[in-house]
């Protein structure tokens, strides 16, 4: 029984990832169509609607996590990067602020620099996946806005992040 649950769970998990990846990849393939900010679009041809920001399982993921002192984006976040890039490509008036953060180790000013580097890494990844650079703004908060105030790796790993914040949806 326990095993059955586990299998069911992992099937669901894979399905979720697949659904996410599918949506992200499909639009890129048909990218020759000029994207228009058609908010009423409800068809299922890989076009996003504005409401998808709240409902789409991939677009709802807005945090990219990083390893200690690292700024490169880990493979598990590539789907997230792609779907946000595609959304921004389809809605050229959408705007995003990338808020870069660091864990508490090291000095505050240096960590501002590190947070910015991470924000820049996400910015260039989203740009090269299709968004325009002008849609993306990077703000570093360094270690000033932790989500977990603990002093161990489990807290630190949650704090080393870039948050994708939509300041305009379309």
């Amino acid at each position: 029984m326990k095993n059955a649950m586990r299998i069911l769970f992992s099937v669901l998990l894979v399905a979720g990832v697949a659904a996410c990846a599918k949506k992200a990849v499909k639009p890129t393939a048909s990218s020759d169509t000029t994207p228009t900010a058609d908010t009423s679009a409800t068809n299922n041809d890989g076009r996003y609607k504005v409401g998808d920001l709240d409902t789409d399982s991939c677009l709802r993921q807005r945090v990219v996590y990083f390893d200690l002192d690292r700024t490169e984006i880990k493979p598990e976040f590539s789907a997230q990067i792609s779907c946000h890039a595609e959304y921004l490509r389809q809605f050229p008036n959408a705007r995003v602020t990338l808020e870069g953060h660091a864990d508490e180790r090291g000095t505050r000013e240096y960590n501002l620099g590190l947070g910015e580097r991470r924000g820049n890494a996400v910015q260039s990844a989203i740009s090269s996946a299709g968004a325009s650079g002008g849609q993306l703004n990077v703000v570093s908060y360094g270690e000033e806005r932790p989500v977990d105030r603990g002093h161990d790796e489990s807290a630190w790993s949650k704090n080393r992040r870039v948050e994708i914040v939509y300041t305009s949806a379309n």
Partner: protein, 436 residues
Amino acid sequence: MNNRNLIRYALSLLLMLGGHAVFAQGLSIDITDGSRTADPIAVVPFAFEGAGLPPETDVSEVLRADLARSGKFFTLAKRDIVEFPTRESEVKYPTWRLLKQNYLVVGRIADAGDGALRVEFELFDVARQSRMIGLAISGQRTAMRDVAHQIADLVYEKILGVRGAFWTRIAYVTSVGLGQNTQYALMVADSDGFNPQVVVRSREPLMSPAWSPDGRRLAYVSFERGNSSIYMQDLSTGSRELLSAQKGINGGPAFSPDGSRLAMNLSYAGNPDIYIMDLASRKTSRVTSHFAIDVEAVWAPDGRSLVFTSDRSGKPQLYEVPVSGGDASRLTFQGQYNARATICCDGKKIAMAQGTGNVYRIAVFDRATGTYSEISPGNVDESPSFAPNGSMVLYAATEGPRGVLYAVSADGRVRQRLVLADGDVREPAWGPFRQR
């Protein structure tokens, strides 16, 4: 709960309450190494000879605490003081020689008219049986802590030949609350943590306070505009100016020794580099141009070079560069992580946050000998700031969930925790000498 447990419970409650009282006073002095030499000095409680009530401040106790936390003196415990002279004619030197005291301070407090008080004090050399100082300082009743710190400065200077730095102020940042409800404040207090005053309150992060050399202004970083910006604020009037709000990071302000320029790190050109702003013209000149993160510049005392943090070699290390720009030379080679320099003693010593693995401590680098000494024992110690006379270092440490400040003697021997507020306290900056 049986009786014995009840008693035990009551006892531990009392202990906790007792502990809390000490905590709230911010007077927990921690002598980490009592073996080294320090001058024994007895500070006899000052007599109050005025009319009415004595001042709220125990002047001689503030003086004694200053001398004790400097690391340069052993102060005689109150319970060991058996005679209470208030003036030279009452001093019996053999008593103090028997108590193995090198120095003795006595004093008395009298009315000075208009509600002010006059504190007369005398310092004696016990071995020579001679008076070294006999002075009076007057002040309002509410300013007795200032008077006590000024007396401590005079005693310190007379004995050690170095100007005291007790009558100085410190700036620091506090944060209270979590997440969206966090409240930040930039604070200024006396060097012993008393008299805290709010300079700025904000719902957005505040960072990196830096003193102007005349002690009248603070430069700091605020996120109130949605991104880091550098402000300069006059402490007496509260008026402030926005100095830098470029795209990207605007951080790490540091006044030049003559107060005319401000070093800062800006990232609008792509990544953080060091710049200098001329405060009269507001023009900036670029000092470093490197793809690495260059931050936290501080001025050499002669104003000719800057020491800053850069990760151009991989991990953060300290570098020095002429203010006119040019090649930067690496200063630190020991330790994986060396950052946030503070300079003292004519540029001969540099304190920094030194990290190895997950442990960050304050280390002092002696440029002449090339040696390092670790002066803090914590795991997340950072933001060192030298007292203007180099005698002590203020730094931020983490205790449980909160940040606290410590003042440690420059040799690391004596450490005192300054309890300043509830919540998180960090980024101390020790202000300059004040004008008497």
